[in-house]
């Protein structure tokens, strides 16, 4: 983590308030830092993490050499990534619900046009002579249509 501070030894925060005093955006880098360490993105958002202009002054004044700007930048990118994931999840769930609904509608439409299941109907027994008569009628009808 000690990249931005350029100092080899980072020490625990002494709560001196220097970073708050120098911040041109009137943020509280100290509370934002502790919120991000706790993975508490809700309070980081309340502390206006997005407003940080990344001027580096908090890092320069920090007596404990805490890489505050690394943390704030990471927090901003992580917050944006989580927001994108949330939007994508909402779109996915909406699409899934739409597909389920459309499938149900198609199935309902098919049920409407389909005849009832044959097994539920009594089987029809007809004689060979009736079949021959039906075929003769059909052929006569076709001859009338296509003379």
């Amino acid at each position: 983590m000690a990249i931005e501070s350029g100092h080899p030894t980072q020490q625990p925060c002494v709560h001196c308030g220097e970073c708050v005093r120098v911040c041109p955006d009137a943020l509280n880098p100290e509370t934002l830092f502790f919120a991000l360490v706790r993975d508490d993105f809700a309070s980081a958002r309340d502390g206006r993490l997005d407003a940080c202009s990344e001027c580096h002054r908090c890092v320069e004044v920090c007596p404990s050499h805490i890489p505050l700007l690394d943390w704030l930048r990471w927090g901003k990118s992580e917050q944006a990534a989580r927001a994108r994931a949330e939007a994508a999840r909402e779109r996915y769930l909406a699409r899934d619900a739409r597909l389920v609904r459309e499938r149900a509608e198609r199935a309902a439409a098919r049920r409407e046009v389909r005849p009832t299941v044959a097994a539920a109907l009594p089987a029809q027994t007809i004689s060979h002579a009736e079949v021959l008569a039906a075929i003769a009628r059909g052929k006569a009808r076709r001859r009338g249509k296509h003379p």
Partner: protein, 339 residues
């Protein structure tokens, strides 16, 4: 003409041939067929296989000429490779252009409680691969036969033409009634929703559909079942029939035999398998058993449930090839005192 120019001409001819037979011809025919949206690529590939296979003939000539030249130059390995290619071409040409165009009549004597001659046809699969001309050939052959009963065991269509009435028109020329059931390709398994359309187009024709019906003949009864995959049938109506006459059952898939346990029937007839289309002794039977759990690939079987005849059908699906398994009209000679 020098060699370089000849080679250039041959290559150009190949490119022109591939474009014509694999793109232009399939593209021109494609709009004539009734294809499901999700099957479009497959249907085009099938048209490509059907027409592109004409290029096997020039490939055969070219590989034969090449083999002759290489052997004359004493380049044995090259010559052997070209010969192998030529042999493969000969086999494919036979399976594509010779055997599917045959139509054999095969007689089988089956011991039964009545004397009856039955012609069984199945799996005509009118569509991309099988054109109405083949249907007309089957109809002409059936019209010339002297049989008591003509049965059609399902699968009239496969990626059917948009004008189904015109494609099935040859069936109106039948001079005897043909009792039929629908097959899996006629009831969207897979395929477009056709069952009602087929029934409507053939209403009043000599083709009479008998799914879930019993036809009462003077000396026997004939019953039809729905396709096994459509799971629409319940054979209770067969169990309820009186036992005074022998019962013949027409179905599409040999699997339907499982629904006939406990039914008193003299003979069940099915199609669906095409006998594998490419029939290699033992191997095809094993493949059917492993991949489809199907013991009854083609022919007559005296099974524990009852007597079953499976016809190997007329048409093709998947690839337009038939080998050692020609299109067939099966004539079953039911005899009281068998053989």
């Amino acid at each position: 003409m020098n060699t370089g120019r000849a080679r250039w001409l041959v290559r150009t001819a190949w490119i022109v041939g591939i474009v014509l037979f694999c793109i232009v011809w399939p593209g021109l025919e494609y709009p004539n067929f009734d294809i499901e949206p999700q099957e479009r690529a497959k249907a085009f590939l099938q048209l490509l296989l059907l027409h592109g296979s004409w290029l096997l003939w020039p490939l055969l000539v070219q590989s034969a000429v090449k083999a002759w030249r290489r052997f004359r130059e004493h380049r044995t390995w090259r010559g052997t490779g070209a010969t192998a290619l030529a042999v493969v071409c000969v086999l494919l040409c036979y399976a594509r252009f010779v055997e599917p165009n045959e139509l054999v009549v095969r007689r089988t004597v089956i011991p039964a409680p009545i004397d009856l001659n039955i012609a069984v046809v199945a799996d005509i699969h009118v569509g991309i691969y099988t054109r109405p001309a083949k249907l007309a050939q089957v109809v002409d052959r059936l019209n010339a036969m002297h049989v008591d009963l003509v049965l059609f065991a399902g699968d009239l269509t496969y990626d059917p033409p948009k004008n189904l009435a015109a494609a099935l028109a040859p069936l109106w020329r039948l001079n005897k009634p043909m009792y039929a059931v629908l097959g899996n390709h006629d009831v969207e398994l897979p395929g477009p929703p056709l069952a009602n359309k087929i029934h409507r187009v053939l209403a009043g024709s000599p083709v009479h559909f008998i799914e879930h019906r019993v036809i009462d003949f003077p000396s026997f009864r004939l019953a039809g079942l729905y396709d096994w995959w459509s799971a629409r049938d319940d054979t209770a109506f067969l169990k309820a029939l009186p036992h005074d006459k022998p019962l013949l059952v027409l179905m599409h898939q040999p699997h339907s035999l499982r629904a006939l346990r406990g039914v008193d029937f003299a003979l069940a007839m099915a199609g669906h398998t095409h006998g594998g289309q490419v029939y290699l002794p033992w191997l095809t039977d094993e493949v059917f058993l492993l991949t489809r759990d199907e013991r009854y690939v083609g022919g007559y079987y005296d099974t524990p449930t009852g007597k079953l005849f499976v016809t190997t059908g007329v048409g093709v699906t998947g690839v337009p090839l038939r080998f050692n398994d020609p299109p067939v009209i099966d004539v079953l000679e039911l005899r009281k005192h068998g053989h």
